[in-house]
Symmetry: C2
Subunit: 471 residues, 2 copies
């Protein structure tokens, strides 16, 4: 796209923001040229890994980001925003002519405002660092993606992230109060922290879920909460996934909002909590938090509803175990080195279709030769429906078949999700792995999405290849 | 803008969708050419009222809306979408060459889906009719704008409406699950009813708050709730507005979400609930609803927090009185015929600035000669802040000075709101009355709003003059 050679691009960028901002270390350049999509990890392990980005730059200020984008617009250089690279969908995958704007140096916590329950940070601040600083001041964001130690606060916005406590605290779109972003032209826009407004279409949604295709988010202001006065933990075994899902539906329908409602199928319950539930039972983890009286009432209601749905209380142990181990998952590399590919696929659907989606996606994946195991759990429940977070492991006959096998399984899962009327992504985003199915999901609305994206990025320089099949 | 004469436009429209869809009655044409902005009401009462729209059409299907917009795009005819005309900001004010698309014939309730807690209706369905049909089936939307009997479900989306029970159930953006809309080109887009997705920027927000400038919403799917098992009412008198506001802050900060928290200043408390509170006291109405145990715990917590903030419980009477009379307000006409102008101005701000905003806006309005009374209440509370809904009455020296006086008062309120760091509109929208202050509120983000609007309406035919000062 650009006429600039990698050398010329690096020299230009060094002149713009300082040569010390340009990353030299080839390993760091390679790492910043992709996210944690298992396909990218796999390719990075091959004897000839993909060519990295032409230039990786680590600006230290919004003004530097603005300079870089204005330059990229002038020179038609493709720009790939990089937060912390923990995405798993190929949302970051820089071409060899691309400029990667790595926000890792922009990690200041600007303010914790206890009176207004707001916290402001630069986009590159890591999630666990942000949460730890809030905790030290007596607050929490209530946003706990499994990736919290690997992801940045700006990345949460760009990917429309969801955290493990979402049933009570909402998803990232419920938490983002204000932002600063740089448009491809280099224009900096800032919104004000206000509780709620009716002042035209809500511009936060130009960037929430944008995957970097409309600009670069440089600062975020999130709603925070005082640390809760009380918490309660309980695990409940159900005779079937279907019975557990019905219990979830009734809990939120009645107006309760436990922070955590995680329902594992019998495979995952057996794997993560061996011996707690029977071999064919599903297992629900419940965590309530808030004021004492609310937690007591909620816990009692959840237990009553669950029991009425066939559940059996098995104590707080599994919840406490999960809290300790919840973010420790083996990396994709471990499995790849054993000749296996493992991945997760999160989708969502309304209650009337949840059983069909759950069984349909599992059946679709299991019909693919090479699949070893597929399982799922529900982790984000709403009055209208819930998500299923599927995990699969597969072993190709040869390493040459690893990618084709992987894509066959994904295709089976995506087609089964759409057939069941679900959304192809609950909270990981589209990136490249789901891109081909997005037009099927959105139908006539896909063109409206293109219209929006093109309006903000008329030259098509922002993260090309992610989210949209065409520009 | 268009080269079509009113006669030619009416003939064209009749040929497109049937002559019986074109409104002939001059009084209905005049009424559909404006909303309930007091300035428009005032002008309509003058000996020479403003010229009405060239044509008012009442399509019966989305396909007819699509035909009308495709025609308007072809002929460059300005289009004014009309829901029920209850807006109070001049969001609907058709020019003499405009085509008003009145959605009043599209009022079918499509479905009440009790399992998924969803209800779907055509955009022209009236709010009270929708809620009554939900109630009959055992559900409620939990959305109660004061205008519920005067406004349409599509209008709620276009204006980013808020209802009286918002602290528990959220505002319209929290309730809209899916929609159908017609773009200016005539393209029909539909989204799916899914619980939550990460599939790019959320297209609902192209239309929420659009005030008809990006297209016409033709169908909506909202989240609904089972009718609550329990309710509790209590009113609490506070020694000052500031003490009451601090109580609101602490209630939501602790994690409670009563459906209604309405805090009236001493003027409004005295006017609406005479004798309940002392002459200098503010009055808080609390309504809790939901499961029995939640309501009991919440009521007790709210009373405890309020008492700690200096509040004095005065019983459920004022809440019950409010529930009976809450939507019965005198129309603007009553006052205009007495030579007075009355209006409301709702704004919002974070907690740290709420006292300054409250006193600043009142002082600003009271400094305008001709103002008789100005007062306010808080009706929508969030963890981060709250709104104030101001009411003013003014009497000009002569009828010629009514409009100038009105705009002087609005200007004082807008400037004081911005000076206090607030948003100029909490839930009524921008229309024409606030239009000149929107660039000041959004600052550098105003151009992004223009970019979004122009992308969907490149010819500038959609509700010109509303929301944006320029296109």
């Amino acid at each position: 796209m650009s006429g600039r050679s990698p050398e010329a691009l690096r020299a230009d960028v060094g002149r713009l923001v300082g040569a010390d901002r340009v990353v030299d270390d080839p390993a760091r350049v390679a790492r910043a040229s992709r996210d944690t999509w298992v396909v990218s990890v796999w390719r990075s392990l091959q004897p000839t890994p993909p060519a990295p980005a032409a230039c990786v730059v680590r600006p230290r200020t919004t003004a530097e980001v603005a300079k870089l984008l204005a330059y990229a617009t002038r020179e038609r250089v493709p720009v790939v925003p990089f937060g912390a690279g923990s995405g798993v969908c190929g949302g970051v995958l820089a071409s060899a002519d691309a400029l990667v704007v790595d926000l890792g140096e922009m990690r200041a916590l600007r303010a914790i405002d206890g009176q207004n329950l707001l916290a402001t940070a630069e986009a590159g601040l890591m999630g666990d660092d942000f949460e730890a600083q809030l905790n030290a001041a007596g607050y929490s964001m209530g946003h706990f993606p499994q990736s919290i130690a690997l992801s940045s606060v700006g990345g949460w916005v760009a990917t429309r992230a969801a955290g493990q406590f979402s049933t009570k605290y909402g998803n990232i779109e419920d938490m983002l109060v204000a932002f600063e972003a740089v448009l491809p032209s280099g224009t900096i826009i800032r919104t004000r922290a206000i509780p709620r407004a009716s002042t035209g279409p809500d511009l936060r949604h130009v960037f929430l879920g944008s995957e970097g295709t409309t600009g670069i988010v440089t600062e975020v202001t999130f709603e925070i909460h005082p640390l809760p006065a009380a918490t309660a933990h309980e695990a409940i075994a159900f005779p079937s996934m279907s019975a557990g899902l019905e219990s979830l539906r009734r809990i939120v329908r009645d107006g309760w909002r436990p922070a955590v409602l995680r329902l594992y199928d019998e495979i995952e319950a057996g794997r993560a909590f061996a011996g707690v539930a029977g071999a064919t039972e599903s297992l629900l983890l419940v965590l309530c938090e808030g004021p004492d009286a609310l937690v007591a009432a909620e816990r009692s209601a959840v237990e009553g509803i669950s029991t009425a749905c066939g559940g059996r209380l098995v104590g707080p142990g599994p919840v406490e175990s999960w809290l300790h181990h919840r973010n420790a998952v083996p990396g994709f590399e471990t499995f790849l080195k054993q000749g296996m590919v493992v991945d997760t696929i999160e989708v969502a659907v309304t209650w009337d279709r949840i059983d069909a989606l759950f069984s349909g996606v599992l059946a679709g994946m299991r019909a693919v030769p090479g699949l070893i195991v597929a399982s799922g759990h529900s982790s984000h429940t709403y009055p209208t429906g819930t998500n299923i977070y599927f995990t699969f492991a597969a072993k190709p006959e040869s390493s040459a078949d690893l990618e084709p096998l992987y894509f066959r399984i994904w295709s089976a899962a995506m087609e089964a999700t759409l057939a069941a009327g679900g959304t192809i992504s609950h909270h990981h985003g589209i990136g490249r792995v789901r891109r081909d199915w997005l037009p099927k999901e959105l139908g006539s609305a896909y063109d409206a999405l293109l219209t929006l994206q093109r309006a903000f990025d008329p030259l098509g320089i922002m993260n090309p290849g992610a989210l949209l099949t065409t520009r």
